[in-house]
């Protein structure tokens, strides 16, 4: 089936290929800083090294996350994990000059940006990189983050996707506004509840027409939004059965949105712990986990939900029997912590830990280490496992978070990629020079 027919088709058809992206996180406990091999999280050399390694491994994309306020712990900045990350688009613009083919994906939220400004800057990145830019759309909404911005916390959680959609529509109109590749541009007007935009766009279309759109977010609203607007969804469902389920769900939503069954690609977040043999990989996993969640991190994790200090508890003992002092968890630990009822959660967790005989450390490690998102094993076994995904088209690729910076992709590129290429499920060269070409996406129709 041609690319064009495939995208339009009402029936999902696997491509038989997978792509890799790298997600340079910049926060959380996933990235190890305690190992001797662990380098700087901010020096440009770390970014260069990872991006060039990824490009050597024919990765489709280099992703940078975004957070607009430092996570806090009991009212002060959280001290235990990697933190402090540069601006995504600035770093990607710099990486554009030391890479040639890899896509450059900036996570940028729709709440604390202005549509015309963000659209212009993304178009800039797209031009500077020769058509390799993408926007990973996220929808931060809280007043806690808003404290760093002129508008403050103006947006209700319930409205964030409504707002995001108007934002993205406006951005698309800005990118679409050029009559011909050299102009002139049409004026773009948008009058919304929160924004008024009146702009005559300044930048022509890029080599890939406009930036590729990724969406990260998992609620029904988030999925529908992705089904309507995005080219790729950065999902949280890498486990096989779950991935197949998610694919089905997204195909239905894409069809309901009037797009083809293959219109939206899926790239789940993932982690790889690999070695020559299964036994070595398991040993490595133990080592990785012990460095990701040390005793202090384990206790601090619970403190977030308990809302009080728990330093008197033994990290290798059972979960605290006392109750949390907060009703709701706050935003202060980042976007993953939305509004779970703390007391209810504590009860659940105590029961689960007791059931499985887990200490605080083991329990927290099991919750935070993305157990569902981890591929552990020998290069050949994991390659076989991934080949199985391509058979049914469970995913279009994986977005890999390396647990070590800047060497965390070396074994994947040196050993896993060749295994996958041998199985015929991974590209052996870049299909083109733009991200859109390399992902096999269609040129968008002008809106």
């Amino acid at each position: 089936m041609t690319q064009h027919n495939r995208a339009k088709s009402g029936v999902f058809t696997p491509t038989g290929k997978i792509q890799f992206g790298i997600f340079f996180q910049g926060v959380n406990s996933g990235t190890i800083w305690k190992a001797a091999e662990s380098g700087s999280q901010t020096d440009f050399e770390s970014f260069r090294r990872l991006a060039q390694t990824a490009e050597r491994g024919l990765f489709a994309a280099f992703f940078l996350g975004e957070g607009l306020r430092l996570r806090e712990h009991l009212g002060r900045p959280h001290a235990l994990d990697v933190v402090g990350r540069p601006d995504a688009q600035t770093m990607l613009a710099a990486l554009a000059s030391v890479t040639k083919k890899i896509g450059l994906v900036a996570t940028q939220n729709t709440t604390y940006n202005d549509p015309a400004d963000l659209a212009h800057r993304l178009a800039s990145l797209d031009l500077i990189s020769g058509g390799r830019a993408a926007w990973n759309i996220v929808t931060t909404d809280n007043a806690w983050t808003g404290a760093n911005f002129r508008r403050g916390g103006y947006l209700d959680h319930a409205d964030r996707y409504k707002h995001a959609e108007a934002f993205v529509e406006t951005a698309k109109r800005i990118w679409d506004s050029w009559e011909t590749p050299s102009g002139p541009a049409r004026q773009v007007l948008h009058e919304g509840q929160h924004y008024t935009v009146d702009v005559t766009p300044r930048l022509p279309r890029s080599a890939q027409y406009r930036p590729v759109l990724f969406q990260a977010g998992d609620s029904p609203g988030g999925r529908d939004f992705a089904a309507r607007q995005a080219d790729v969804i950065f999902s949280a469902h890498p486990k096989f059965d779950d991935a197949v389920e998610f694919r089905k769900d997204l195909v239905e939503r894409s069809l309901a949105a009037g797009r083809g069954a293959n219109a939206v690609q899926i790239m789940p977040a993932s982690e790889f712990i690999l070695a020559a043999t299964a036994a070595e990989a398991l040993e490595k996993k133990e080592w990785v986990r012990s460095l990701q969640i040390g005793p202090q991190q384990a206790v601090a994790y619970l403190e977030q939900f308990w809302g009080r200090e728990l330093s008197e508890y033994d990290p290798d003992g059972p979960l605290p029997e006392i109750d949390p002092v907060v009703e709701e968890t706050s935003e202060t630990r980042g976007s993953g912590f939305h509004g779970a009822k703390a007391r209810q959660l504590a009860d659940q967790w105590r029961a689960e830990a007791k059931d499985k005989g887990l200490s605080i450390r083991q329990f927290v490690s099991s919750r935070t280490a993305r157990v569902d998102a981890t591929f552990t094993g020998s290069y050949t076994a994991v390659a076989d496992q991934l080949a199985e995904y391509t058979r049914v088209g469970a995913v279009d690729g994986f977005n890999i978070s390396p647990w070590l910076v800047p060497t965390g992709l070396d074994d994947i590129v040196n050993h896993l990629v060749p295994e996958l290429q041998e199985r015929g499920v991974y590209p052996t060269e870049y299909a083109g020079s733009t991200l859109r070409e390399n992902l096999g996406l269609e040129t968008p129709v002008r809106s």
Partner: protein, 363 residues
Amino acid sequence: MSTSETPVPSTSPAGFLAIELDGAGWDGGHFASLGEAVLAAESAGFHAATFTDAPVQGRANALQRAAYAGPATRTIALVPEVDTVYTEPFHVSTQLASLDYVSGGRAGWIATAAESPEGAAAVGRSSVSGEALAQEAEASIEVSRRLWDSWEDDAVIRDVATGRYIDVDKLHYAEFETPADFAGPAYSVKGPSIIPRPLQGQLPVLAAASLVGEGQIPADAVDAVLVTAPTPELLAAEVRDVRARVGASVAVIAELDVVLHSRGQAAAERSGGLDGGRAQYAGTAEGLMDLLESLLEEADGVRLHPASLALELDELSRLVLPELRRRGALRPPVQDGTFRDLLGLTRPASRYGAAAAAAGAGK
């Protein structure tokens, strides 16, 4: 940011040259890429490259262009214009700090205050003008400076024994609030920054001299001013006036449009394209050398706006800069030096670190 610094610039005998890479004379088409153009400026011996952000068709974001040039170069300072009025101060601060990281400490900031109805309409604000512009700029610069200081230099400790990646005592909330008499919509910024302190500690901040001074951006909020005069003859006098007004701790940079005889074409034939009320030199390379030499006796640096980047850069690098270096009028470029080094500025301590140390000593 001049409080604790020795005013080196005005006493240094040799000056520096900056080049505007894409002003009125942008013809990037002569270079295969932006990176190539910046490299050409660097190898010509220019000390700094600046990037305009005026709303011109086809021109990409200035800060991103500077970032792109970062990894491709080693000595030249990269100084984009970034607007202070219709941008988010928190984003601006992070973007500039990131530019410092990708350029190895060679970043600067020309803080502009756009008197632009288009800029206002694009973000749904009402247009800002007059004194309010300087207020917006001052506030935005102050936010950036506080955020840059909000991580002390040694805040990242990576202490395996205690499991702490950062020392929380070395992170600070910026707690910025616009003053009560602020003309625009009031706002506050909490902080800390989301990126560790820039490599230079504080990026040098430049602004047009017309924005700096009494009732406007206070002189000690900026590190350098860009001085414009209608003719080359008036430029040196204007530099002297501005220097007297802003004080010795602020570097003074003269602005000059340049059209040179090139490839058998007389400068006068090509001098039509420039504007902006800046002094213009049109003529031979020899004449320009003399003018620059005398200007650099008054100013710390001169920023050249070439009529055509390709044509003028060629003449400048073959003839003008080598001769100025021979005459001792130019500082030697320093490989891997910072922009602060170039301006003769020391690396300041974080204001919060200094405050914490003072409080500790008083205990």
